[in-house]
Symmetry: C2
């Protein structure tokens, strides 16, 4: 066994067998506790080619009921997956509460392969590692148990396994060029793996290097780690995490109350004239985005009856329907609520070259979920930073991110509510909940002020659309979208 | 205008404008009725290259709230999509109740292109057309409104549009080889389109050929069709469809009561010996399936406490976890309930070369949903045929489909329930519902007899696993799976 990692000492055969038995039974009993405690468990299995990751996973799940786990084969990135942010294919597969996902190779394999083969610049590589760290930390803070295993074998051992697999006609297809390349460049890979483990080792999501020299012994080590990690997690059922200080540069923002509204108006003629010109410009830009494969994400938030719907329509009217999608965001469905709150937005990201418009967004966390108590105080306090990190991912991917707050005053809202109530075709737009929310106007206003202040990053600032006059707000939205896209295309 | 299709007579410009206005308002008012009546609406937009499908879609949705519709760009099949059955990419995108999906090019474009360019055999082409017809009929019978529009332009007009798009540097990228190929082979395409329309035109999902010679006129024709189709659908809110006669060959089956159970046992030695041999054989076969890209679907149904879980485990223990997935099927989530009952199984199909095991299945429709009144009598009566058609799709795709009924008698169930109740680690497996279902044993038994009789097709027969002795059932399951796979690989 190579001594490059500090590995546990291998017991004698009989002891391994005996302890394996005990650990299996322990894990079997724990699956019910995972379910009861609604613990989401992510087990990441990394390691050398031919180190036996598949066999290890088989051995881990042997005693778990298939209702409680899912094995995700995250091998080579497909053509479709390259059209989304690096992390998306991994985020898509995170488990829901009470379930275990086993990732068969994940970001570590992908990044180290790109790095060693020189397909990725150092700077990009470092940035992606930071992304991974954020992602893991966000999961853990949301209550996920993240267990990372690295299955280690020596260069000699790997070579022997490759030869043996190649010599059997039933298994030789399993050896690809990458295995040979890896064995040839074993030392460079080893250094890269070590550095990666070093950099992504954290108390909240530590690495465990496992001696892969024999199957039973590897299984026992994995079961040791998993059982112990579960025990700890069961004790920690409601940990509050320290709220991290914002580290992104912010732009200066105004309080909502200081934004003047009634002077922001347009005549019908001004409106018609500008609307046509701006829409035709946006149409041109849409084709250019498509050709240059630049994704755009437009987020709409605003008071009830502020005019979000009509505003969105003036944007989409200029777009080729094949190149955009509008996502109306209501309260989460059960399978969405059972995952990190950003998950349902990750899964709705546009492909590169496409536009996604969100009618209400991830900011629900720090508005309605905060004020209605749908999440804990610690949850929404952490959310500002989580959201900034999320938007940074999008911008780093190359996306244009535009966030609109559609602003009206309280009187205007009342007038519009009353009109909706009195107009049969518009009655569906007004519900009791709208009236109830209206009563909490002041609470909302201060939450929104806090939100805008804390999430107006230089890379994804908020734009306020003064919408007492809807025409004014629509033109400003179009102008802003065009400006942001033009800046990106320059 | 070419006179190859019978097209409505084009009104004068002013009349078009005026009628457009009226039709737009009508559609605007109808969006709420669609929501209230929970009508799922599928609008398929087909047509010639450069006929203006994108523009038409823009014009149709102009007045609809983005919360109510989704545009699905179903263009060129991606590498991932080729690994699933032909229909899957379309089924995946069907709307939920109360929503509209607009398909921008669908099966007609794909099939005619493959046909004219000679990439698909005649026989295969005809078979796919039959699949499409089944799919459309199943949607309509489930309450979907399916509207199919074909945007028609003449050869000369198409040529002119191609030239004009090519001559502008901002649009020339939009003209691909296929547009040129189509214009060159216009007559052959025309014949193919006509034949396709002819063959897939049905009262439940008729085609409307639209004169695409001018934008406003095309929009008006489309809005005419859509508004009228919606009016009709609103009147038909609870149509019962005639239950179609089964047309698939069936194998002879036995009633459950005539299956002897107590003579189906194995000693521990026999079991251990067979288990090892069979699992190692299945392991070999799994690699062969993977290499030959053959998908396998194993469906488990059976009495509560019949031993499905343990049985599945003996199968999966032999498999590489990277090549299979177990889908435990509980009651549907809201977004699943809002679609055709088979949707949530389509979306869970394995890629080619992979194995999917369903722990409970689409047969819930004719068992629990039937007996608990979760669907109408017409719904479950139709389901036998829908299921046979679904499984035929899978088999035609190249899949091995294996269906197990895990059988025990009533006394054995009681013994196992009691044991579960008295064993702390097993208590989660027994609920009040299990006891309630037990009371309906006789009702279930006759529903199951009917199900097995009506869905034991020659291409996807049921296999009964006698499971009073679980060991016997496990060995029989392994033997059956191996036999079915070997037959396919021959």
């Amino acid at each position: 066994m190579s001594a490059v990692f500090e590995l546990p000492e291998k017991p004698v055969k009989d002891e391994i067998k005996e302890r394996l038995h005990i650990r299996r039974d322990e894990l079997f009993a724990k699956q019910m506790v995972i379910k009861e405690k609604k613990l989401p468990v992510l087990i990441v299995i990394e390691g050398w080619g031919t180190s036996g990751k598949g066999t290890l996973i088989s051995n881990i799940i042997k005693n778990i009921d298939p209702r409680f786990f899912k094995v995700c084969n995250l091998g080579k990135r497909t053509a479709d997956e390259t059209r989304f942010p690096f992390l998306k294919k991994y985020v898509d597969q995170i488990p829901e509460q009470g379930k275990i996902s086993l990732f068969d190779s994940a970001w570590m394999s992908e990044l180290t392969r790109l790095h060693v083969s020189g397909q990725i610049e150092d700077e990009e590589y470092e940035k992606k590692i930071r992304s991974v760290k954020c992602f893991e930390r966000q999961l853990v803070e949301d209550g996920y148990l993240v267990i990372k295993l690295f299955l280690h074998i020596s260069k000699k051992d790997q070579k022997k396994r490759i030869e043996s697999l190649k010599s059997d006609k039933n298994t030789k297809w399993r050896i690809g060029d990458h295995d040979l390349f890896q064995n040839k460049n074993y030392d460079e890979y080893l250094d890269t793996y070590k550095a990666f483990i070093d950099e992504t080792d954290a108390a909240y999501a530590p690495w465990y290097v496992i001696d892969g020299s024999s199957e039973n012994w590897a299984t026992l080590q994995a079961l040791d780690v998993i059982n112990e990690a579960l025990d700890t997690a069961f004790l920690n059922s409601s940990v509050n995490f320290p709220v991290m200080q914002n580290t992104f540069s912010l732009v200066k923002t105004k309080k909502l109350s200081s934004i003047s509204l009634d002077d922001k108006t347009l005549t019908d003629e001004e409106y018609d004239d500008k609307l046509e010109k701006l829409q035709s410009r946006l149409k041109e830009l849409h084709y250019e985005l498509y050709r240059k494969k630049i994704p755009v994400i437009i987020a709409y938030e605003g008071w009830d009856a502020a005019g979000k719907g009509g505003n969105i329509k003036r944007i989409t009217a200029a777009l080729d329907p094949r190149g955009y999608e509008v996502h109306p965001i209501a309260s989460p469905e059960p399978h969405e609520k059972a995952r990190h709150f950003l998950w349902r937005f990750w899964t709705r990201l546009p492909k590169d070259g496409h536009i996604a418009i969100f009618d209400r967004t991830w900011y629900g966390r720090v508005m309605v979920e905060r004020l209605e108590g749908f999440c804990s105080e610690n949850d929404w306090q952490r959310a500002y930073n989580e959201i900034n990190e999320f938007e940074k991912e999008l911008v780093d991917w190359g996306a244009v991110v535009i966030k609109f707050w559609v602003q009206i005053d309280k009187d205007t809202q009342l007038a519009r509510f009353t009109e909706r109530q009195n107009t049969p075709e518009k009655q569906w737009k007004i519900t009791d909940e709208d009236w109830r929310n209206r009563e909490k106007w002041d609470l909302y206003e201060s939450a929104i002020d806090e939100m805008i202040k804390k999430t107006s990053t230089t890379f994804a600032p908020w734009y306020v659309l003064e919408s007492n006059d809807k025409k004014y707000a629509r033109i400003k939205a179009l102008e802003t979208v065009i400006e942001c896209i033009e800046r990106k295309l320059k």
